[in-house]
Amino acid sequence: MNKKRNYVIGYLYLIPALVIFILFTYWPAIYSFYLSFFNTTTSVGHAIFVGLSNYAYLFRTGEIPYSPYMAFEYSLIRFSFAFIISVAIFGWIEKGRKISKNLIPLLIVPIFALIFVYPSLSVLGGNVYIFILWIIIGFLSYFFTRKMEFYKSHTILFLLSLLGLYIVAFYIGKRIDLYLLFFDIAQNNSFVMSIWNTFYFVIIDVPLTIAISLAAGLLMKNLPFFKAFFRTAFFAPYVASIVAVSLLWLWMFNYHYGILNYILSWFGIPPINWLNSASLTMPTVAILSIWEYFGYYGLIFLSGLQNIDQEYYEAAEIEGANSFQRFVYITWPLLSPITFFVIVVSLINAFQVFTQVYVLYNQMPGPYANSGLTMVFYIYNTFYNEQQMGLASAAAYVLLGIIMVLTLIQFRTTEKRVEYNI
């Protein structure tokens, strides 16, 4: 009885917070989902229900040289090819180490792939039977090799090999690809452009942020002197107002008087037009963003590092492990929950990049050609400047979907490697 009462009291205490959450977080979120099915800027003056057409409008293709289905086919054939050959290469390397049962697929399938890649990508591409055949073979090679070690132990190498072989296949075949089609569509659809820009930013930003903040974390842990100073110094950008920080960087990036170009000039490098070049927009924003956040993530890494039991290091030292080995075999695995957390959080953060662009480029999406149009910028612009609340809500939900899917993939792929039992 007493226990029950305690529960009730506990929930009662939660109610005020819950009410605030519902009112200011969940309700607006739900309402904006509802709004995403309405066209709010109409000739009749009030919002009208339009079903999914806001979503369709966001992904309109405009005039395109070939159908998305065809592009998908070509891309998948290329992927299958890259996958089969990569499996074969890695399988043979592994076979060199120990006996494998899967010799036959490892020998026959790649030969088939090598013989048929040229005809399928140039002549027969678009033929539905060839397409299905490739998928089946790709799937079979996965099925036979799925228990092999290389999937686990050399993921990055394997992915690189996939990418490399994909590019090779791209250059053998016709210039038809999902990636190219995506770029074609982006020229006439600013939302697709914003997805493109955002992914570009994320790909530069997240790995570098993780690498630099891990380095900062290690530095902060191992420094003999000035620990407190460095912790404060690294953390300062994170607590500073992002607008003030961006204004500061605006001057550092300045073409004529900026300190960055001045430093480059010491090494004889000609000045870089950081702020007025479409191709440099996202790298420029990423530099600012990394600088802003590395101290914060560094501190999180530091707390993880301090939680690792010293006994492991002492044992390793007695065994004669050098500092690199200690990092690879002790620090990195035991830090994995923190790394996982930082990857998830920084990825979500990176997808929401907005303020940096807004301030660096004078409230515009980049210097020209919409090169700084990120998804949040698109949402902001559509909502406030174009008053298309329905469309903006739909775009916001697409962003939510992308972030959710990516986070889910991260959870699925990394949960087995994360060592929670420190």
């Binding site: 066209n39 800027t41 109409t42 000739s43 409008y57 004529h256 004078n362 020209y368 050609a369």
Partner: protein, 418 residues
């Protein structure tokens, strides 16, 4: 009992006196920053003094875009002010929502209208009625550095051909590096429109509603600008030009009159400061300035008294005395046509170094930079992107405007529900 009665009498008298003395309150949401804000406050104080039964309260709501989004929220929440400054496209959206009282429904509207330039009345029309009236409109002018022109033996260009010629003559190249550009311009929708106006274009939609963004005249104007950049005589970017002016790396600059108190104030007042000239004319061969600014809307959500009081305030803002004071202090164009014939203005124009007559030149023939259409901001975005792409040579002027045309048609069709 006596005490109670006495208390009641006092209470009733007290309440009555409060209600009798109560002023009609007009809440004005405005976006006038810095010096503009203080000038508007001075004007409003005079109005409040002259109208003891009206109390206009200025509420500064940030810049124009912030004000627009605040109004958007207020329209949904039914907390609109009495009167507000909005961009023309936004005004059209508010009219479509049915929250705006037309200006032409107020008494003696025709008297007020007859004092304003017809161009101002024309640009305030939405669906054939005058719903709004502007009081802060700025025209595009040509800024130039007088010392630089004098050294080159030039007078300010009067035609577009002369502009191109002078830009070439004023460009200085040292050791293969351009240290001074003849002309600077921002890659905005407004700059293209102001130039296109001189090429017989500058209109992006026909009265019937077909888009003509890639008309030959507009393409010619964009080509003119792009060629100047290509030949190295002009420098174009989206940002403001304060740096280039302080370091003297541009000799002429396309800008708005109202830029003067802001971005150009760094060097205005210096010995080799900055002066204005009327926008050079092109093949159209007549002065045809481009207006840019906000407009006033009175909301029908306010009480009748408040709306009438707001109308009194609008009339006051557009009166010659206020318009001349406003123009002298902010370099916005005076919209009341009697201003130019006043001695006070002529004395000011002659006695002021930066040549204020440029902001009144050809006002009768001006047009607004924006169409009064709720979807126009998207078109502005598309055209701005086209200008950027052309000026940075990622597209030819024709391709860029074709692209903007195609994108804008999609936006228009979405608006029309097609």
């Amino acid at each position: 009992m006596k005490r109670v009665i006495a208390f009641l009498i006092i209470a009733v008298l007290g309440l009555a006196s409060i209600s009798l003395a109560q002023k009609t309150e007009v809440i004005f949401w405005e976006a006038m920053e810095a010096k503009l804000g203080t000038t508007l406050q001075t004007i409003t104080n005079i109005f409040n003094k002259e109208h003891p039964n009206i109390d206009v309260k200025l509420v500064f709501v940030g810049n124009g875009d912030q004000l627009d989004s605040k109004i958007l929220a207020a329209a949904q929440a039914n907390t609109l002010p009495t009167i507000a400054q909005v961009y023309p496209a936004w005004a059209a959206a508010l009219v479509a929502q049915g929250v705006v009282t037309p200006m032409d429904s107020f008494p003696d509207f025709t008297t007020v209208a007859s004092q304003l330039y017809p161009s101002i009345i024309n640009m305030s029309k939405i669906n054939g009625r005058v719903y709004t009236l502007p009081f802060n409109q700025s025209v595009y002018v040509l800024y130039y550095r007088p010392m630089m022109l004098a050294q080159a033996g030039l007078t300010p260009p009067k035609t577009m051909d002369e502009l191109a010629q002078d830009a070439k003559l004023l460009t200085v190249v040292q050791n293969g590096k351009t240290v001074r550009y003849g002309l600077g311009f921002r890659t905005t929708y407004g700059v293209l429109t102001a130039v296109a106006r001189q090429f017989g274009g500058g209109k992006y939609i026909t009265p019937e509603g077909s888009l003509i963004i890639n008309s030959p005249q507009n393409v010619a104007a964009l080509t003119f600008l792009v060629n100047l950049v290509k030949e190295g005589y002009a420098y174009a970017k989206f940002d403001y030009f304060d740096n280039e002016l302080t370091t003297s790396s541009v000799a002429m600059l396309i800008g708005e009159g109202a830029d003067l108190p802001f971005d150009l104030s760094d060097i205005a007042g210096q010995k080799d400061g900055i002066e204005m000239a009327s926008f050079p004319v092109g093949i159209s061969d007549q002065k045809s300035p481009l207006f840019r600014g906000q407009t006033l809307v009175i909301f029908n959500t306010a009480t009748k008294d408040q709306q009438n009081a707001a109308w009194e305030y609008v009339k006051f803002l557009l009166s010659p005395a206020v318009q001349i004071y406003w123009a002298m202090n902010t370099n916005y164009s005076p919209l009341n046509k009697t201003v130019v014939s006043l001695d006070q203005w002529n004395l000011f124009a002659q006695g002021t170094s930066y040549n204020p007559s440029a902001i009144v030149d050809g006002l009768a023939n001006g047009i607004s930079y924006s169409e009064n259409l709720p979807w126009w901001p998207s078109v502005i975005d598309n055209i701005r992107t086209a200008v950027e792409n052309a000026v940075h040579f990622t597209m030819t002027p024709q391709q860029a405007l074709d692209w903007a045309q195609q994108q804008s048609i999609i936006v228009q069709q979405k608006y029309l529900g097609k």
